[in-house]
Subunit: 469 residues, 2 copies
């Protein structure tokens, strides 16, 4: 055992050797040993082990688990195996499982599984739980209510601290979070907060209303609030849980920090996906079907392909002139690329700044001025470097001559102009999108590149026409 | 007061109207009123208000604050204003501030301010604190130790629960986290964990060693562990704090959830920046100087400009053929763009999957197979759509004729091939980077685009040569 423990601890994020060892015990049919090995592990690791098995073995291992940990393990499994397990359970087993699961985990589970499993669970759950589950299932997706749990400690303000601790002792064991308690009046309105340590470290005959924290403003969200806003509030105020109230300010639940961390990662993933013009998906890559992946990609690929076809039309109108001077066409990818990359850098910084609340719409003019200065530095350096490189390549391949210099200058001037415009477009479009209540993340690389491509070509040909023809 | 409270609560993330009202009170010189309004706010909001003022006013407001909240407000300020405040303070005031600040906040502060402020703080701090600070300042950047605090509750295993609660009551008030306590043996080795609620809800004459959680594997990190790994562990195991031990497994500190959330956001920001080929920066956009912004961008812009110059050389070698058939050149941007976008979508999903641990190196073949299937669907649809669009545009502008059909077919075949190759390159390079211990985020849009551009051109010209010439 000692050795096994160290194996995990050396790298808790890659416990594959351990899972192989456990799988061997399973295959050998040594179930008692498997059980005693498993209960030494954290629930999330047991779930990970189960997920590494095929359906049949997964079910077997799940049934081996002691009842007191199986519910938590269940909450870490994915919906496919959750469905298999639920379908293989008797009504009594399923009732017990639902009873042990936290409300938010139950809701997550029900939102993902087939309708027949949902209706069976609701039928078995009993009237009170059924009503709660139905209410939770009806909250709008991505709202604060959709990710909250109702298993929080709510203390009436007229309780003494002694009575409050006794109340928590009796009812708190199953709560998701006992450390931050919420104070409510007779009508369940949220009126303050109190930490478990405050209950413990004050005189036991004081009242909740004497010690609760109302001195600072009370932070809460309404049920309909967007989950991203809940995460922003929790981050800003370093909260372990955020209370959720209904429209009459009655406490209905809390969102806990573990769910908030998940929201943060989900929102980041959504931004990454939007920035690559993928339709965001809730599933992990390996779990998403080929068809869904293709569906999430094809729309924007198609739109951008058509847009780029029209960009090509700009070249077509200039094709005869391009043919006159060797090397003019060859510089097109470089000018377009440099423009696209410049715009992409600017838009990425602005999109991220907007997402983190570091940049606001009212900062627009500061941002534009800053980008203008930055682009001036970058464009001068890049244009000069380009001129030098073109001369150098010309010398190396023998094409260099004084008559080629105007052509080199045209390309360098184009780079100078394109980089400045690209940076300005790159920083403006995300803020403009935000102003129009669109997701700024859409205004990232691919769209910026497409817009900058067309503008680059027009500028390049305009400069070339003015100087060379 | 009631009204003001509601103003904030309506939108705690944009309290600008409140700050304006407070600024008016400040300008009117009504300091007593300002103070009583301020102490109703959360510390982070006070800091935000101070940050919205100029230096002189900021200092004034900071001095108005009651001593018991000023330290926390200080920890939310940025290094410029922290420096001004520290410089304006007497030695006694500075000593008191450092005494009130948590160790991790003090270290954050000292890491950002000028050397003369650091040496003054260290001189004033007193010997014991100075030694602690020096030790913390010497931990490697981005290590677990660099973000930990030593203000945790460490309980000896031989204590009774009563004695433990008494110990926490006496010493715990200043601790960053009292809810999760750590159990240590005589040599301060970490041997278990115990929640405050466990102390409260068990018989008071039991020993810590009777109730501490050692049943499940103990999760901890070493001081030198990378902060990203600390965040991954906290996320996986839903921990409120992660204990940090030295090489002999002696408890030296904890990393708290609020810092873990910051790490998660920092790491995401770093990925966003890397993916746009920006050199990651610790400062926010508006705080970063124009020169630094330019410096962080120019390297990759320069490298990619040179690379694209060589891509252009591919066109140069084909320029005479391009001139023979009208429209051939005009399709170059569309083929390059479609390839770049296809590759970008694939690489983004893989980079994100790798970052979240959803995809591992061993999944490579599954990923490639999946991308191949996805790219097959996308490429067939895009190639067919392109053929249709080219015919349509030809009919509209009158250039359509049966002799043009082979040229349309060449472009469509190029799209078909390029999309498949781009997806395979897009999914392979991030995994390859990970295999070589490089950051997969580098293998995003810009690099993929540059590589795919060159390959697209070669394929396009190869197909054109085979069919048309």
């Amino acid at each position: 055992m000692e050795e096994k423990d160290f194996e995990i601890l050396d790298n808790p994020l890659d416990p594959k050797p351990l899972y192989n060892a456990l799988a061997e015990i399973l295959d050998a049919g040594r179930y008692a040993q498997l059980r005693s090995e498993l209960i030494e592990l954290k629930e999330v690791d047991i779930a990970e082990f189960i997920l590494s098995l095929n359906d049949e073995k997964a079910l077997l291992v799940f049934r081996i688990l002691p009842k007191d940990i199986s519910a938590e393990v269940f909450s870490y499994l994915d919906s496919d195996i959750q469905t298999s397990i639920a379908e293989a359970m008797t009504d009594a087993e399923l009732y017990r499982l639902i009873d042990e699961l936290y409300i938010d985990d139950t809701v997550d589970f029900l939102e993902e599984v087939p309708a027949n499993v949902v209706s069976r669970v609701l039928k078995i759950a009993g009237k009170e739980k059924r009503n709660t589950l139905n209410r939770f299932l009806n909250y709008p997706e991505n709202s604060a209510a959709s990710i909250m749990t109702n298993e929080m400690v709510a203390l009436h303000t007229h309780l003494t601290l002694d009575a409050a601790i006794e109340y928590i002792r009796k009812t708190g064991v199953d709560k998701e979070s006992v450390y931050q308690c919420y104070c409510i009046d007779k009508s369940r309105h949220l009126v303050g907060t109190v930490g478990l340590s405050d209950l413990l470290f004050n005189k036991s005959d004081m009242l909740i209303s004497d010690i609760m924290d109302t001195e600072n403003q009370l932070i809460y969200v309404e049920t309909t609030e967007d989950q991203e806003a809940v995460a922003d509030i929790a981050k800003k105020y370093d909260m372990l849980s955020v209370p959720v109230v209904d429209s009459e300010k009655r406490l209905v639940g809390i969102v806990t920090i573990d769910d908030i961390v998940d929201i943060i990662e989900d929102e980041n993933t959504e931004d990454f996906e939007r920035m690559a013009l993928l339709v965001p998906s809730d599933d992990t890559y390996l779990k998403t079907s080929v068809f869904s992946l293709a569906k999430n990609r094809i729309f924007w690929l198609f739109i951008l392909m058509i847009t780029a076809t029209f960009t090509g039309k700009i070249i077509e109108g200039f094709e005869s002139q391009l043919a006159l001077i060797a090397g003019l066409t060859a510089c097109i990818p470089m000018i377009m690329n440099t423009g696209g990359n410049s715009g992409n850098q600017a838009s990425t910084l602005i999109i991220r700044g907007l997402a983190l609340g570091e940049i606001r719409i009212r900062d627009y003019y500061r941002v534009v001025f800053k980008e203008f200065c930055v682009s001036l530095i970058c464009s001068v350096l890049l244009a000069a470097a380009n001129f030098g490189i073109m001369c150098l390549i010309g010398l190396i391949d023998g094409s260099f001559s004084a008559e080629r210099l105007p052509m080199y200058a045209v390309v360098s001037m184009a780079i100078f102009t394109v980089v400045i415009l690209a940076k300005l477009i790159g920083c403006s479009l995300p803020i403009l999108a935000k102003l129009c209540h669109l997701d700024p993340a859409l205004m990232a690389g691919p769209i910026i590149t497409t817009i900058v491509d067309a503008i680059s070509l027009v500028i390049y040909f305009a400069i070339a026409s003015a100087v060379l023809f």
